[in-house]
């Protein structure tokens, strides 16, 4: 029996889909069987982030409506043994699936795979309720911004109300240079406010944009800092005790000059 994890955030655009694609890929690289489910019906995106958009024949709504069997709709990633995608429908809306149907479907997937990762749509309406209905655990993604943290807090409350306890936090797009000069909330600030456990911190990294352009998850790039963070997140999900990584900050010219003056003034 596998584990069902919903990846959610409340606010849109904080990196839920990128996180789902990368954690799923990284878990497959750990030789687990994984299915990533795109629950964002009407706004399908997990397929393009994974580079599987050309292989979709049937989608999640087709399975629920009995047009296709589950096995027919699942897309097997050729690059990563064990990784599968259940795509969202692009032409239907969020009410095309009921929570009961979703629960039934997730139950079936849970029997076949080690991990079922659900990419939750933004918002707190029907789509959110469908995405969390079959979940055993939740991962909340936020960025170090007031709006994203506020929405994350609301989501944590709603998860608790739905009896999905102890969600874990991913802080995405952290800029160490801004944190250092006091212009961005740091990890401790956000953990203090949200009062949940940390799963990982992903630095703001242009390799994410490049890998999404190519449809090849960033965990495949050995040198990428964001890739390293996602690989570690996957290992933590898989039960390994991985210390939180510390990245060296690339200092700008002015900061280096300032540092020089500080040394001289001692």
């Amino acid at each position: 029996m596998g584990k069902v994890i919903v990846i959610t955030s409340g606010k849109g655009g904080v990196g839920k889909t990128t996180a789902t694609a990368n954690i799923g890929t990284a878990l497959a690289k750990l030789e687990k069987t994984v299915v990533v489910v795109d629950a964002d019906i009407g706004l399908r995106n997990l397929d393009v982030v994974l580079g599987l958009e050309n292989r979709i024949v049937y989608d999640i709504v087709d399975v629920v409506e009995g047009v296709a069997r589950l096995r027919q709709a699942l897309i097997k990633d050729k690059k990563h043994q064990g990784l599968h995608l259940l795509p969202a429908a692009q032409t239907k809306d969020k009410n095309a699936i009921s929570p009961e149907q979703m629960k039934e479907l997730i139950g079936q997937l849970k029997e076949k795979f080690d991990y079922v990762l659900i990419d939750c749509p933004a918002g707190i309406e029907q789509g959110f309720k469908n995405a969390i209905v079959g979940a055993d655990e939740a991962v909340v993604v936020t960025t170090p911004e007031v709006s994203a943290v506020r929405d994350a807090d609301r989501i944590i409350g709603l998860l608790e109300a739905a009896e999905i306890h102890d969600p874990k936090l991913i802080i995405n797009r952290l800029r160490y240079d801004m944190v250092k000069r006091g212009d961005m909330m740091n990890t401790d600030d956000m953990l203090d406010i949200l009062a949940i456990d940390l799963l990982g911190v992903v630095p703001d990294d242009e390799s994410i944009v490049i890998s999404t352009n190519r449809g090849d998850p960033v965990v495949n790039q050995i040198a990428s800092m964001a890739g390293e963070s996602f690989r570690n997140i996957a290992r933590r999900i898989n039960g390994e005790n991985v210390p939180f990584e510390e990245f060296k900050i690339e200092l700008g010219f002015m900061e280096r000059v300032r540092g020089l003056f500080k040394i001289n003034s001692h």
């Binding site: 943290v149 807090d153 609301r154 409350g157 909330m185 740091n186 300032r258 003034s265």
Partner: protein
Amino acid sequence: MSIFKWFTNNTAKKSKNVAKERLQLVLIHDRANSSPEFIDSLKNDIMEVISKYIEIDESSFNIEMVQTDDDTGAKGRPALVANIPIKKMKDRTRE
């Protein structure tokens, strides 16, 4: 002291601290309003205490979380506002 501090305005609060304080205030409000049980149990407890001293009109008792501008000019500070209509004072000396 570094010479650069001379040029930069150090009296301005770091923006991350402003963000954190604003968030903490707004979340007090959000959390209270997103959980009706919280206000209900608070209301019942307050009612119980006040009833020891004053006979109140329980049907018109109202309590809510609002955002106010306080005396210091800080915006959006959450405050509890209660409207508790009094029927009559209880004479505690006779009990």
